[in-house]
């Protein structure tokens, strides 16, 4: 093996320092092509017969993109059509340096086997390494390196191919100068656009092309609409001396000319700066990190309450805009002025691909169209496409490329189509994308870490593992559950005490720390359950088979075993990895039936009865300690088995067995939390639920007062007790309503790392310490807890990241975010299915209760469907009734009628589909009858809306 060496000298700023590094050149770097006979490579990535057909290059060829092509056209490269691409090390390094997300995407492509991407380490190849010449810039050197490598490839491939037409390489670059030089040295070179357009049979690929700089000019007029953004150096200087503030840009949902910038202050304090008007917004997009400058105090304004939607499909010029802005300013009240500023520069763009729909241009042949994102906080995006006809009525994804200062809207390009709007599959995709739920199929790299089938328990697996196969273990879950992660057993010991075991799927046995599967699971954070669909955190083989504790198969488990006396006092706790063989997988209803049916006396039933008895005592203890029983209505759809449309709605029922399983899961979680915290006080992953600030309870107290009921909120116990006695005669639903309200007052429970926080208390469960241990198939936090526990009992090895509290803390932040997003996605999915349901049912009249009273509306809860809706008292086309809002009550007087919280009303429910992107449930009042406000009971006006839905 020959090693020659040259020196690379680098200077770095911060006091000029000379850095000398060795640079070895090798001659054992192979070309990666199947046809090559010279290279002694073990595996090849590039195929013998590259199958990209192009008008420009009719011969078989490989493609070499340069750095800018990769950076700008990564969407195109990700397409399945593009294969057999050589990524040079030079390009890879530059991409890594310039954009981390694109680097990651590129690496993912390279890892995908079917894409046949090959990374050529040209910088260390003896024949392709070049030194920077005097006077040559780093970029020029890299361009030359790319050309040299391309040249080497074309000659190398020529040598090895003898019989058929030789393979060629095509260099893709958008840089004029680079292209010219490449042509001079006899390379095949094309611009990326030219090449993509020439690909036969893939017209939609063209739309994915990001606009390059010279195209942008002709798309818009030369009129300058926006002030120039300041360069980063000036922004930094401004931030330092305090003239600018840095913050996250948050566009208003209701008013496209208004936004706030959230400035994170030192410590806890943070301020919001109001931005108003297009000029001041200065091309910021929701979630960008921007620099703002405060306006002088006399120009400060108050946030307007006007709802303004950007309707500007036709009006591209800004004259009318000015008027709208003026209107905005006039409406601003003098009193409530807020710090107002303007955006002077963008520190970091936070663009992602957006979902939405195309507003086809009026001119039929036009290729330029506006795109309206589903999220109202995102501005419209101008895109260029030739398939507008095909895309009309479709949900599509669009990425922003840039926002020049003379363009009213940002420019973007089409990424892909998701399907037709209103379609169940499509809408599901949209809500997953908009809630940032990673839902792609698992990559090859991830799947490669799955165990090979058929899988069986080998003696190595049995090391450090107890054999509990003989125990009568059973699982109790909701019907249709395939990812069973917990099972229970209970038996009498010789000394009269009971032994209770909770057995949790041993997911951490299969998912080893640091591998691709682990990273993917850590990123996903949680399994997301939508109506009729589950987005797994771990591949299905694990979630529904190997880890699922199904009946009558041997499964690995992590067991938590207590010795408990008949008063449900825990005498001993131990944890062990184990093998179990579940005897039965029951549903809650089945388990309940077995317990209730006195004729059954088999082992499983005895087991269940023992568990149930203990659970009741445990629950009593817990409630005595002050645990809250809160309520939220969960609905369940009965889905038609063929059309998969919802045919009925039902609120979820709770049975004794639900609480039985829950009780033992809580016990296991608390036991484990204590154990891992004792063992690792610095890096245990725990879950806390902070006590809500007293002001949160205001609404609950007021509401209770209006019904002459007293609620105490000084402690969780006081709250629980007072909720228990809160009853109103003749109003059985009152207690549930109060509990629903109390739920809304609560804080979010969060994961955290024990070394980073001092308050561990779980308010809702009234437990001093808590964690999640019992659902490792669907939550990543549980996997971490499993690993910690395994190390604590010396059943598994540890790894550095597990003990690093910074990394743990970062991980818990991600898990909290994913958890929150998955809940939003779940709610959105329920909302969408509710809409579908009402679409099929037409109009319904239902009885409900007033849950909240707002300034101009009441929020009504329909217990039957668990549905919440708003009844507005002011609408655009009708004269507004006389509405008086009393904040103390709280009550709302509409004409003569006074609405209080918990009032019983009757409403008619229909689907408002006037805006196809934002369909919603519309409710109108039937009872009490208020002239001019309520509608008469039979279905009247909403019918007219229906046909528009079915187009």
């Amino acid at each position: 093996m020959l090693k020659s060496k040259t020196f690379v000298k680098k200077t770095r700023s911060g006091g000029v320092m000379k850095i000398v590094r060795e640079h070895y050149l090798r001659d054992d770097i192979w070309c990666g092509s199947e046809v090559c006979t010279e290279c002694k490579q073990e595996s090849t990535a590039l195929q013998r017969d590259p199958c990209m057909e192009s008008n420009l290059c009719s011969y078989p060829h490989y493609v070499i993109p340069d750095t800018n092509v990769v950076l700008h056209q990564i969407d195109v490269l990700e397409d399945q059509v593009i294969r057999n691409v050589i990524i040079l090390q030079t390009v890879l390094a530059e991409v890594r340096h310039r954009s981390a997300p694109i680097y990651k995407r590129l690496k993912d492509i390279v890892h995908e086997k079917e894409k046949n991407f090959y990374t050529f380490t040209n910088e260390h190849h003896r024949e392709t390494f070049i030194e920077r010449e005097p006077g040559e810039s780093a970029n020029d050197r890299n361009d030359r390196a790319i050309r040299v490598a391309a040249k080497w490839y074309s000659e190398h491939l020529k040598k090895s191919e003898s019989d058929t037409d030789p393979l060629k390489v095509v260099l893709l670059t958008n840089d004029q100068g680079n292209k010219q030089k490449a042509e001079e040295s006899g390379l095949l070179v094309y611009k990326c656009e030219e090449y993509i357009k020439s690909l036969i049979g893939n017209p939609e690929l063209v739309d994915r092309l990001a606009l390059s700089n010279d195209d942008k000019n002709d798309i818009t007029s030369s009129k300058v609409l926006f002030p120039e953004h300041l360069p980063l150096s000036r922004i930094q200087a401004g931030l330092k001396n305090g003239t600018f503030l840095q913050g996250t840009f948050r566009a208003s949902r209701d008013n496209y000319l208004e936004a706030t910038v959230f400035v994170q202050g030192e410590g806890e304090e943070s301020t919001e700066v109001l931005i108003q008007g297009l000029q001041n917004l200065n091309r910021s997009v929701y979630q960008d990190v921007v620099a703002v400058q405060l306006l002088p105090r006399d120009q400060w304004v108050a946030p307007s309450s006007v709802v303004l939607q950007d309707e500007g499909a036709a009006k591209d010029d800004n004259e009318e805009e000015g008027e709208e802005e003026k209107e905005l300013r006039v409406s601003a009240a003098e009193a409530a002025r807020k710090p107002t500023g303007r955006v002077v520069g963008i520190i970091k763009r936070n663009w992602r691909p957006f979902c939405g729909m195309l507003n086809a241009s009026i001119i039929k042949e036009s290729t330029r169209h506006l795109f309206t994102p589903a999220d109202r906080r995102i501005p419209r995006i101008r895109i260029e496409t030739r398939q507008a006809d095909a895309l009309a009525g479709q949900r599509i994804m669009v990425a922003i490329d840039g926002w020049p200062k003379h363009s009213r809207y940002p420019n973007g390009h089409f990424v892909r189509t998701l399907g037709s709007a209103g379609d169940k599959e499509t809408e599901q995709q949209v809500l997953l994308l908009e809630h940032d739920v990673p839902h792609q199929a698992f990559s090859q790299a991830v799947l490669s870490f799955l165990p090979t089938m058929p899988w069986e328990i080998t003696p190595e697996v049995m090391v450090n593992r107890e054999d509990l196969r003989s125990l009568t273990v059973c699982s109790v879950d909701p019907p249709g559950c395939t990812d069973i992660d917990d099972a229970l057993h209970c038996r009498e010991l010789d000394n009269g005490n009971l032994e209770v075991g909770v057995h949790i799927a041993d997911v951490s046995h299969f998912i080893r720390p640091g591998n691709a599967m682990d990273k993917e699971a850590a990123n996903r954070g949680t399994t997301v359950y939508l109506c009729g669909k589950r987005i797994d955190m771990v591949p299905e083989l694990l979630s529904s088979n190997l880890c699922s504790l199904r009946s009558n198969v041997e499964r690995l488990a992590f067991s938590c075993i207590w010795e408990i006396n008949h008063e449900a006092e825990i005498l001993k706790t131990r944890f062990t990895k184990s093998v179990i063989k579940s005897k039965a997988s029951l549903t809650y209803a089945e388990a309940q039936m077995r317990i209730d049916d006195t004729t059954q006396t088999d082992d499983i039933t005895k087991n269940l009865r023992g568990l149930n008895k203990l659970a009741k005592i445990l629950k009593k203890h817990r409630i005595l300690k002050g645990a809250l029983t809160l309520s939220s209505l969960e609905v369940r759809f009965h889905i038609d088995s063929e059309t998969h449309d919802p045919i009925d709605l039902q609120t979820k029922e709770l049975m004794e067995t639900n609480s039985m399983v829950e009780e033992f899961m809580l016990l296991a979680n608390i036991s484990v939390a204590q154990k891992i915290f004792d063992e690792f006080p610095d890096c245990a992953m725990l879950r806390k639920h902070p006590a809500p600030p007293p002001s949160n309870y205001d609404i609950l107290l007021k509401a209770a007062k209006s019904k002459a009921v007293e609620i105490h909120t000084d402690s969780a116990k006081a709250l629980a007790d007072s909720l228990d006695v809160a009853r109103v005669d003749g109003f059985p639903y009152f207690n549930t309503l109060l509990r629903i309200l109390a739920t809304r007052c609560m804080m979010q429970a969060v994961y955290f790392c024990s070394g980073m926080d001092s308050d561990f208390h779980h308010y809702g469960l009234a437990s001093p310490i808590y964690t999640h241990f019992t659902s490792p198939i669907r939550r990543y936090a549980d996997i971490i807890v499993h690993r910690l526990l395994a190390v604590a009992i010396a059943a598994d090895k540890t790894y550095p990241d597990l003990m690093d509290k910074q990394k743990q803390s970062a991980l818990s932040n991600n898990l909290n975010y994913r958890h929150k997003m998955s809940q939003y996605a779940q709610r959105a999915s329920v909302a969408f299915h509710t809409q579908l349901f009402f679409k099929s049912r037409g109009i319904l009249n239902e009885e409900g209760f007033v849950l909240f009273v707002r300034k101009n509306a009441i929020i009504v809860l329909i217990p039957k469907f668990g549905l919440e809706g708003t009844v507005f008292f002011d609408s655009k086309n009708k004269a507004a009734p006389n509405v008086v809002f009393d904040e103390e009550g709280p009550s709302l007087t509409v004409e003569q009628h006074i609405f209080h919280m918990f009032d019983r009303v009757t409403v008619t429910i229909s689907l408002d589909a006037s805006n196809i992107q934002h369909q919603k449930i519309r409710m109108s009042l039937i009872e009490p009858v208020i002239p001019g406000v309520s509608v008469s009971a039979p279905e009247v006006e909403p019918l007219a809306k229906k046909p528009r839905l079915d187009r």
């Binding site: 590094r21 380490t121 790894y799 550095p800």
Partner: protein
């Protein structure tokens, strides 16, 4: 983008080596005539000069005399021009003192000191240019110098620095790698018997990885010993040819 990618997906390190490959060795023995033994060694960009005096009678305090063996006196220093920024003090700082002590321990384990009771052997090593793995280069250079001085040793002492990145041990770290947040370990080995003369590590490393890392270090040291052996043989040949004429 933060940090350097120490090991690429293709398995190449920053300077183009693979994980187990050593840097290029260049060595000369007998560079100075006055000293009893001397050697110059380059391992990549790390360059060291080692000089040996002795065995001779113990100088200075007589209390240091050992009646059953020779004492070894080591001094490590770095040239002021050896690093990117000029060093103030070439030797005598804590780091150098520690390094001297390490060298002393290493060579007390390797040199057959019992053959020279009541005497002293001096080993002076100077780093002329530093690019990572200073300790190991010093040990290797000193080994050559001791051999050049004709002092019997149990075996070559070969040293190598290894680091741990992405679950892979990297052999013979260069400066950029040492500074890149790698937990590094230095190991001096008597390769034939497989005895470890010195093992030193200040970084945090998980216990589970230690075995793999030591294994890699031992393999690397064996590689070093082959190279050193070649150098010695070549030197012998060169030295013997003129005398034969």
């Amino acid at each position: 983008m933060a940090g350097l990618e120490l090991l690429s997906d293709q398995g190449y390190r920053l300077d183009g080596r693979k994980a187990t490959e050593l840097r290029k060795f260049q060595a000369r023995m007998g560079v100075f005539a006055q000293a009893d033994g001397s050697a110059y060694l380059e391992q990549g960009n790390t360059k060291a000069l080692a000089v040996v005096y002795g065995p001779h009678e113990v100088r200075g305090s007589r209390s240091r005399i050992r009646h059953d063996r020779a004492v070894i006196n080591c001094q490590y220093s770095m040239a002021t021009f050896s690093t990117a920024e000029r060093k103030r003090r070439p030797h005598g700082d804590r780091k150098s003192t520690e390094m001297s002590l390490h060298l002393k321990q290493t060579f007390e384990a390797a040199v057959m000191t019992q053959l020279y009771p009541r005497s002293q052997i001096d080993i002076y090593v100077k780093i002329l240019q530093s690019d990572g793995g200073n300790y190991s280069v010093c040990v290797n250079a000193a080994t050559l110098a001791v051999i050049d001085a004709g002092i019997p040793m149990r075996d070559y002492v070969c040293a190598c620095t290894v680091g741990f990145v992405d679950e892979t041990p990297l052999a013979d770290l260069c400066y950029a790698e040492e500074g890149g947040g790698v937990s590094s370990l230095a190991l001096a080995l008597l390769p034939r018997g497989g005895q470890i003369a010195l093992l030193q590590m200040d970084a945090r490393l998980h216990q589970d990885h230690l075995e793999a890392l030591i294994e890699a270090a031992m393999t690397a040291c064996k590689g070093v010993s082959k190279v050193l052996d070649q150098v010695v043989r070549q030197h012998l040949q060169e030295a013997s040819v003129p005398s034969a004429e």
